[in-house]
């Protein structure tokens, strides 16, 4: 397998957009291509992520139109990936392996989504299509509901008073909103307090509005290429050190919702491939679709023992000045969550952190970064470990 690196990254501001899925993707894609010192004609394939285009815009089969927007050559196959919220992370993993295998030298990976454009009711319905349609969706399952059930199980299993757990969850939201306030591309760029969270509307007991990430519009893209080629193109290649992806069935089959088994499987593969362990990770962008989700993730990665990670944000260990910086971009919580675009936006943040380009939210001296994206109700997990040298 050849060494693979990232040459350039691009993303739109996340939030509410008047632009179409394709227009947003064109912006992100051109930014990534220009930042890589290549031209659209040099791109040999497009790995394109979008989940809900048919509901957002009546647009299926978006990948070839995306290639056309960017002026990619006809010889570059453009293929759509869909893995719910993990869509563009999964696309990235497949792209990187095909470059590593020598099938392509330079490819573009990314995603686009107009989740906000659907409105809350239709967005909640179509997001819920990521759950099992015969045996889960008829109960009225929503994604906040999935993580709400995980939160209740966590409190019960570890015998933590629910009010204490909720306060610790609120600290995750406060931290990620603070980080988002330092990120000009974040959906929300305002700080909040614990009271903001605890006084919010109840969405799915015990999760309140500020425990939940928003529906966002946005796009992101990265140029992936054979490492020597990237070294010729840009000053600071960011290398793909290791990757993992794992799959699980319906939520009820997973039984203990405090342990995301697919994540444990995925991260083990990524750590092994990279030859690193939890102690080596300097910065992490993880799937904080809900505050409890960040707590589950840091335990899965081995940053904390199971049942011990819930107060990490409260005691400041996962903040920008903490020992294990989690979601410096603001995470899904504050940066926003345009589902098909989320994974390559997480990769974009880690690339910029490893290059030292993040200004006020820069994690000093970060050399190894971890990306984590969860799709559906614990069904798809994908992890990418990147390094700067």
């Amino acid at each position: 397998m050849r060494e693979v690196a990232i040459a350039g990254v691009g993303m739109t501001k996340f939030g509410i957009s008047e632009k179409s899925n394709l227009e947003m993707f064109a912006e992100a894609g051109l930014e990534a291509i220009e930042g890589s010192g290549v031209e659209p004609k040099d791109i040999e394939a497009l790995f394109f992520g979008n989940c809900l285009g048919p509901f957002e815009e009546g647009q299926a089969h978006m990948a070839p139109f995306a290639a056309s927007e960017l002026g990619l050559p006809m010889s570059a196959p453009a293929t759509r990936f869909e893995a719910a919220c993990a869509t563009s992370t999964v696309a990235f993993r497949h792209a990187a392996y095909l470059v590593g295998a020598g099938v392509y030298d330079i490819v573009l990976v990314g995603g686009t989504e107009r989740a906000a454009a659907m409105g809350t009711s239709l967005a909640t319905r179509t997001f819920a299509m990521g759950a099992q349609s015969k045996y889960e969706s008829p109960a009225g399952l929503t994604f906040p509901g999935v993580f709400a059930m995980a939160a209740h199980m966590y409190a019960k299993k570890y015998n933590i008073p629910l009010e204490e757990l909720k306060r610790c969850m609120a600290e995750v939201a406060v931290k990620n909103h603070y980080n988002g306030s330092l990120n000009p591309k974040a959906h929300f760029q305002k700080e909040i307090t614990v009271d903001t969270v605890l006084n919010g509307m109840m969405v799915a007991d015990p999760l309140q509005l500020f425990d939940c990430c928003p529906f966002s519009d946005g796009a992101s893209a990265v140029v992936v290429a054979e490492a020597n080629k990237v070294g010729d193109l840009v000053k600071q290649p960011i290398y793909v050190a290791g990757m993992g992806q794992a799959s699980a069935g319906a939520l009820y089959l997973q039984k203990d919702l405090t342990r995301v088994r697919a994540r444990e499987t995925s991260i083990r593969h990524a750590y092994d491939e990279a030859g690193v362990g939890p102690e080596d990770i300097d910065v992490c962008e993880l799937h904080d679709c809900f505050t409890i989700a960040e707590i589950l993730a840091i335990e899965s990665f081995g940053f904390y023992d199971f049942g011990k990670g819930y107060d990490a944000a409260l005691i400041g260990e996962t903040g920008l000045k903490g020992k294990k910086v989690i979601n410096p971009s603001g995470g899904l919580k504050a940066k926003g969550h345009p589902i098909g675009a989320t994974g390559t936006a997480q990769i974009t943040e880690i690339v910029q952190q490893l290059r030292g380009e993040c200004g006020d939210r820069q994690v000093e001296g970060a050399k190894i970064g971890l990306v984590d994206t969860l799709g559906g109700d614990f069904g798809t997990l994908c992890n990418i470990i990147l390094r700067s040298s």
Binding site: T124, K134, P138, A139, M149, K255
Partner: protein
């Protein structure tokens, strides 16, 4: 290889008050609702059997922001059945606004009720329900 117990057959069972599942010929585990293979050992050699209704609540939530077509508030539970399978459904017979974490661990009896279909599901569909034993 033909699918042993389809959703359609399972669903017809629910209409008749039966909970049709699968018993593995190799490991003896029960799979409910149905899958292509045994949820415990992966064997495709399974027999259709009726599943017993008793179980214990393992977690829950009350949905207050619902998908299009659903009317909140309503409670969702995950239940461990006495025969082993874990299943998802709705709590019935309790006020969703009066539930708290003490619901976890309560013993329940399984039933089912129809849910109105929408333009995506095309037809009405029965959901598992649970009431406190």
């Amino acid at each position: 290889m033909s699918y042993t117990l389809t959703f359609s057959q399972y669903h017809e069972g629910l209409k008749e008050g039966k909970f049709l599942g699968l018993k593995c010929d190799d490991c003896g585990a029960y799979t409910f609702p149905p899958l292509g293979v045994c949820s415990n050992c992966g064997s495709s050699s399974m027999q259709v059997t009726e599943i017993e209704e008793r179980g214990t609540i393992r977690t829950f939530t009350v949905i207050r922001v619902a998908p299009e077509g659903m009317t909140p508030p309503y409670a969702i539970v995950i239940v461990e059945l006495e025969q082993g399978p874990w299943v998802m459904g709705n709590i019935v017979g309790l006020n969703p606004d009066q539930l708290n974490i003490d619901l976890i661990g309560r013993n329940v009896i399984m039933g089912s009720q129809p849910v109105k279909g929408d333009m995506f599901t095309r037809e009405d569909i029965r959901v598992l329900t649970f009431h406190v034993a």
